[in-house]
Symmetry: C2
Subunit: 527 residues, 2 copies
Amino acid sequence: MSDPLQHLDSLAQHSDIYKNARRMAIIDVGSNTWRLIVVEYVPNLSFRVVDEVSETVRLGEGMAESNVLRAAAMDRASKAMQVYAGFCRASGIDEIIAAGTSAVRDASNQVRFLARLEAETGIKVRVLSGEEEAYYGYLAAVNSTTLADGFVIDLGGGSMQITRVEDRQIREHISLPLGAVRMTERFLTSDPVKEGEVDALRGFLQGQFAQFKWFRHKRGMRLVGEGGNVRLAGRLIQKQAGYLLDTLHGYTFRASQLKDIRDQLVERSVEQRRRMSGMKAERADLSLAGAVVVHEAMRASGFEEIEICGQGIREGLFYERFLTEGETPIFDDVRRASVLNLAHLHRFQERHAVHIAHLTLSMFDQLPPGVHQCRANERDILWAASMLHDIGVTVDYHDHHKHSAYLILNAGLPGYTHREIALIALLARYHRKGEPRADEFAALLEADDDKRLLQLCALLRLAEQIDRSRDGVARDVLLTTGRDWAQLELLVRGDGQVALWSVLRHRDIFQQAFGLALEVTLTPSAT
Amino acid sequence: MSDPLQHLDSLAQHSDIYKNARRMAIIDVGSNTWRLIVVEYVPNLSFRVVDEVSETVRLGEGMAESNVLRAAAMDRASKAMQVYAGFCRASGIDEIIAAGTSAVRDASNQVRFLARLEAETGIKVRVLSGEEEAYYGYLAAVNSTTLADGFVIDLGGGSMQITRVEDRQIREHISLPLGAVRMTERFLTSDPVKEGEVDALRGFLQGQFAQFKWFRHKRGMRLVGEGGNVRLAGRLIQKQAGYLLDTLHGYTFRASQLKDIRDQLVERSVEQRRRMSGMKAERADLSLAGAVVVHEAMRASGFEEIEICGQGIREGLFYERFLTEGETPIFDDVRRASVLNLAHLHRFQERHAVHIAHLTLSMFDQLPPGVHQCRANERDILWAASMLHDIGVTVDYHDHHKHSAYLILNAGLPGYTHREIALIALLARYHRKGEPRADEFAALLEADDDKRLLQLCALLRLAEQIDRSRDGVARDVLLTTGRDWAQLELLVRGDGQVALWSVLRHRDIFQQAFGLALEVTLTPSAT
């Protein structure tokens, strides 16, 4: 074989099709893990993380004792930043944001350290105040969950941010030096830990949280957790519960489950913890402090449940650049934004998808409540599936319904629950053919979801047939129902014979889903 | 919820990122199935089928009797073409090619029929001569398989094309009126068929094929089959053999397997055939004629095996538009073109992929043959995996190694065998972490492929670490081996500490794969 690069050169000149997107590198200069992410985005339209480089730097090592960055920690930091700098130079990055949190913020030798990093790598670190750190964590949560009222907690290696959110706005925030590296170094120095050590940590935390009276659960409030410590606790709980997915974002666990994990960690040496299913080897030593801090925070505030947010300050910093059109960098509607983002990333056929959504929702809204088992929530699922049903063609046209389901499940849809994501994926899976089966995701679903799936699927499949020629010949539909029948009137502009004929071939699924015999007619559209 | 379209409008204006590609609709106006495909492409760079609308028109119905298109057939054709016309108007198509084959070509009322279609739909059908039909089928085969010497047979509803290929060039071709619709109507009119009917068809075919002395197997020749009849036979054989994949392109079956299927079809009524696993309901009646014609063609020519090509004249017509740079619209290297196409479709990071390919092949070439179990074939697999290992980030960064494998397996790589595709997918799957396991694809693999997988995986993982900072700091590598040791010298430009440290953390897999203790050193690069 000849030089593998040869053929490529003649092709490379055409690759300006990729060039409209911007690439931004965000480096989280944390107290434990440093992480670089590269986000490719078109402002206000779509974005995706295209690269990530993670390093366990443990910059905050020893800072429980004194607020000085240690020489060894700074050397590790220097090495990591060299990787990132080379990486950014080579990867066509338009902008680099490096943000330092607790360890850098609190270090008495901060100035010299940052000057050294900049001299060695050319990268200037922006030191976030506790307030800014809380704000960017809040931006991540409010743009990737449906949190409206409640709290965001973000537990890092050095500090913990607590933010109160009301009507999606940030109201209160505090940054406390309760990070997992710090708490481990200060309280949990034995391996395995001694019972008294954990008690001392818990007592200390109770005293800390008691000071913030506003950090209390009230009716209608939710708790969202960010950071590697919360994610690790969630992962351990998922593994022990035999959870169906390994998606952490959107996963909710209870305080009692966390307590159980904490108790298991207490009993184990660091080496033993490493062998626990779901454990991250490089976090085994910090995992106990992480679990204790989150658990005490839940106890102090009175929350029974916490929902994992897989995003954090990196994404918060990104949203500030990405959402430039409104007054604040917040999506109007997170669920809608998630669906449109995924649709755009896979270059969906917008006109077709939008018309299918119009037709499915029109039918949904005209069905009397007694005829179906669906609620407003399922209406939203139907909309999402209508928009996304064809995205799988980016994998391959053949079996694209299966690929759409794969893409939806694996990319996720921030703001939708795992149950909802599973239903959207199943609707895409069965939008062309086959008997809709929900068994695979039964563990995530509610009672009657199999019936709902069939009903939503029937509407989606009919809509596909109504718009078979993709030219919107049927502008809208009128759906009337009686005791055992339904009549679907296609309001057509031009010749609707193809639409009529196509729908008739698929009316069985409607009859099966709703128990109504379906008649279909054509009426000239007034518009 | 408000109007679902509202938010979209403000976003739609940005979607010119999709606009550089062209969209071409190709309509195969066949004797049995009509099929429209939409291909999105950037000339000479990349392409994918993004839509397909298939209709069983049976235009050639009754033409075994007289060469006249029947009224009912023309009405079905008119309806199908209206769907296609509306579809093209609505889908932003830059160019439409509608190509008519045997039924149109042979019809005495061709002119009136085509005039009617054009008047009703605006679509002008180009009638392909038998020679042209054979040529476009050849173009499809030679651009999606590695066929160099042998034959392409393409069995449609009306006619069968046989093309002799020598050194990738077309040498002989013939179009015979032996299509599955014609043969069914002329010979297999009973249901279930009578033994004498099949015998009569076989006798007739033997007389036909005997006339073409150049259609004979010789050493080194291969037989490639196109068309719905060949695909259906392959699908039935796959199902009965419990084949691991449901990919038809590149699947090879034996004449004896086809004979077995033929005998099963003979025994069954059309209704019984419909219940066979893998059967296409709308082809159940034609399936026997299809199997008989292909089997007799294999017997007459002396080929023991036939390889399915999933492409056909539609793709041939497309390649003529797509490949405009050379003298003939033929890829220089089909395998390379497949890999680069898939890479570009998923917007791979070209510089990184190319450098990884350079490093892996450099190590591969420096390893003495005795040290590994790989051949030239596996070198090519390593190149492909190096180019494609990261494409899964278009699904999601998280678990992108798994997504790369999914994309490779499901999109396929024309020109690679199923075994090779499985190995490339497995290499992508394990390029970051995990113990490479081939079990899942064992049925496709050869003896020792598990060892080869581990060896290739070791090289890919080392290369990833060598170029961890993605800036090509290690220009190249020197690999020397002894009895029980290997030395890897990184030829670096600048500071190679990060590369050295990263490689050392992953040397275990090299030692495991080759049984050689690995030392790694840095040497300043001369270039």
